[in-house]
C-alpha cells in the first residue's frame, strides 16, 4: 500500500543514519546509572542532553514518594479525570503548583505537550486570534491547529512585531491570545518578557507563557522567566512541564483568571486522555518540594550552564545568544551535526542533534543541556571532548569562518 510513500525521501535519510550506526533519533540506553551517566553501546557515557535540569530523577525523596504511591494507590488510574475520577494526589499536586505560583488555580495534564494543546485550544475559540512567537515549540503550533482561532506568528522575540500584528487586528472582533516561551528549547535564548507584557497591556491581549525550560531555572524562587522579569501579574496563564526540572512526566497550567475551572470540561486534551498514575504524581510533588527547598540546585545548574557555555565559546563554537542550561552549537550543515554528534558519542558523551523544521532559521544544531547534578569536572570533561572531536572534524574554531560566510 502506498500510504507511506510520501515519506520516501525522509525514510532514505533515516536508513542512512541507521546504516552508519549513528542515528541520533534512535539512541538506546542499555542502562541509566544516574542523572549524569548511562551505559550506551557497552560504554559508560556522560549525559549532556537529557533536560534533567535539577538532576532530581534519582533523588531519594522523589523515588521514595513514587514507590510509596504505587504501593498505596496502584500502578495506574485506568481512566480520565472527567470520566473516571481524580485521585487525591491529582488535587494535591494541583494545589501545590497553585501555591508555588501564588495563583488561584492549578491544572495538571498528562504531558507538557498536552498542556499546551489543552490550554491553547480551549482559550482560542472560533473568532478569536492567536499570535505565536515564530520559534514556538511544536506543541504550541499543534495546539493552535486543534482550536478554531485564526493563527498568525510574529517574529521571534520581537515585541515590536507583536504590536504591529495586534494593531492590524485592532478593529477585529474576538479575543487576542499571545503565546511565548520562557527559555526557547533550541537555542536557549529567553523572551523579552517585560516588553511583551507592555504590548499585551496596551492591546488588552491574554498572555500565555510556556515555562517548560525555565521552571526551576530562572527567577528568585525558580518560578521561571515571568518571576525573573517581574511581570507575573501580566502572565494570564503559565504553562509548564514535569518532564524537565521536575524529573517526571506531565504538564500543568496555573492561572488567576476568574472562572478558569470551566477549562476542565472544555479542554479536550485534558478530558479525553488517562490521568497521570499515582507514582508520577507523587514524584512530581516531591520534586517540586525539592525545587522549593533547595535553591542551591538552581545555583549549581546555572554555574554549570555558564561553565559549558564559556568553555564551548572559547573553543570557537558559534552558540545561542545567551548562556542557559540549553547550550547549542550551530553547525554548518546537518552532516556536520551528525558527524560531531557521533564522534562525541564514541568518545563517551551523549548530546542531541536538532534539525529544521524543529529549529529556527534552518539551523542544524548540536544541542547540549546541563544539570545541577553535573560536577564541574564532568562539565570540563565534556568541554575537553568537544575540543578533541571538534578539532578533528574541523568544527572547533569554525565560528569566525561561519560568521564570514554569512
Amino acid at each position: 500500500m502506498p500510504v507511506l510513500d510520501k515519506y520516501a525521501a525522509l525514510a532514505a535519510q533515516y536508513r542512512q543514519l541507521e546504516e552508519a550506526g549513528a542515528n541520533p533519533f534512535n539512541v538506546k540506553f542499555d542502562e541509566v546509572l544516574s542523572p549524569t551517566e548511562a551505559m550506551i553501546g557497552g560504554r559508560k557515557t556522560l549525559l549532556l542532553g537529557t533536560n534533567n535540569y535539577l538532576g532530581l530523577t534519582y533523588d531519594p525523596a522523589v523515588v521514595e514518594a513514587a514507590n510509596a504511591a504505587t504501593s498505596a494507590s496502584g500502578s495506574g488510574t485506568t481512566g480520565s479525570r472527567i470520566a473516571n475520577g481524580s485521585y487525591g494526589g491529582h488535587a494535591r499536586l494541583e494545589a501545590a503548583l497553585a501555591d508555588f505560583y501564588g495563583r488561584r488555580l492549578g491544572m495538571v495534564f498528562s504531558t507538557g505537550y498536552q498542556a499546551n494543546l489543552g490550554i491553547i485550544s480551549a482559550l482560542a475559540g472560533k473568532g478569536d486570534h492567536l499570535l505565536l512567537d515564530a520559534d514556538s515549540h511544536a506543541s504550541i503550533y499543534d495546539g493552535s491547529r486543534l482550536g478554531y482561532a485564526q493563527v498568525t506568528r510574529f517574529r521571534h522575540n520581537s515585541p515590536d512585531d507583536l504590536a504591529t500584528r495586534l494593531r492590524r487586528l485592532k478593529d477585529e472582533p474576538g479575543e487576542k491570545i499571545v503565546i511565548v516561551e520562557g527559555i526557547y528549547s533550541m537555542l536557549g535564548d529567553t523572551a523579552p518578557l517585560k516588553e511583551f507584557a507592555a504590548v499585551k497591556r496596551e492591546y488588552g491581549a491574554c498572555l500565555v507563557v510556556d515555562e517548560a525550560h525555565s521552571l526551576g531555572v530562572l527567577g528568585e524562587t525558580g518560578r521561571g522567566l515571568a518571576e525573573q522579569a517581574g511581570v507575573e501579574a501580566d502572565c494570564d496563564f503559565i504553562v509548564g512541564t514535569f518532564s524537565k526540572s521536575l524529573a517526571g512526566v506531565g504538564g500543568f497550567a496555573v492561572t488567576d483568571m476568574e472562572g478558569a475551572e470551566i477549562l476542565r470540561v472544555v479542554s479536550r486534551p485534558y478530558m479525553f486522555t488517562a490521568s497521570l498514575p499515582p507514582a508520577n504524581i507523587a514524584a512530581t510533588e516531591a520534586a517540586l518540594q525539592q525545587l522549593r527547598a533547595r535553591p542551591d540546585l538552581r545555583r549549581r545548574l546555572n554555574e554549570n550552564a555558564l561553565r559549558l557555555y564559556r568553555g564551548l565559546e572559547r573553543l570557537g563554537f558559534e552558540l545561542g545568544p545567551e548562556p542557559s542550561p540549553v547550550v547549542s552549537a550551530i553547525m554548518p550543515t546537518p552532516e556536520a551535526a551528525f558527524g560531531l554528534w557521533a564522534a562525541l558519542l564514541k568518545a563517551g558523551l551523549y548530546t542531541n542533534v536538532s534539525l529544521p523544521p524543529a529549529t529556527p532559521r534552518g539551523l542544524a544544531l548540536l544541542r547540549s543541556s546541563v544539570s545541577a547534578a553535573h560536577s564541574p569536572a564532568q562539565i570540563d570533561h565534556a568541554i575537553a571532548l568537544f575540543a578533541e572531536t571538534g578539532k578533528g572534524l574541523g568544527l572547533a574554531n569554525a565560528a569566525p569562518a561561519l560568521a564570514a560566510a554569512k
Binding site: 506568528r153 529544521p356 534552518g362
Partner: protein, 92 residues
C-alpha cells in the same frame, strides 16, 4: 470609477503583489531560479514548512498584512500565494 478602471486598478495591485512575492523569494533562495505562477513552493523549491512561513513573514512586512497560518497551509503554488495575499491586502 468605471468597471474597467476598477479592473485595471486590481490588475496593477496584483502585479505589485506578484512582483513583491517573486522578488522576495528570489532574494531568499540560495541561487536564482526561474519562477512562475505554477511553481510549487515546497516541492519545486525545496523549502520546508518553517522556511515557507519565514518567507511569508517578509511579504507580510512589505505589504503590512498578516497571513493566517491556515491560509499559508492551503497554498501550493506561487500563483495561489499571489491570490491569497491579494485577497488579504484588499480586505485590509
Amino acid at each position: 470609477m468605471s468597471e474597467g478602471a476598477i479592473r485595471n486598478q486590481m490588475t496593477d495591485q496584483t502585479n505589485e503583489v506578484r512582483d513583491i512575492i517573486f522578488g522576495t523569494l528570489q532574494a531568499a533562495l540560495p541561487q536564482a531560479r526561474p519562477l512562475s505562477g505554477d511553481t510549487r513552493i515546497i516541492e519545486d523549491l525545496g523549502l520546508d514548512s518553517v522556511a515557507v512561513m519565514d518567507f511569508v513573514m517578509e511579504i507580510e512586512d512589505k505589504l503590512d498584512i498578516s497571513v493566517p497560518l491556515d491560509k499559508i497551509a492551503e497554498v501550493e503554488t506561487l500563483g495561489d500565494l499571489v491570490a491569497t495575499v491579494q485577497r488579504l491586502k484588499q480586505a485590509a
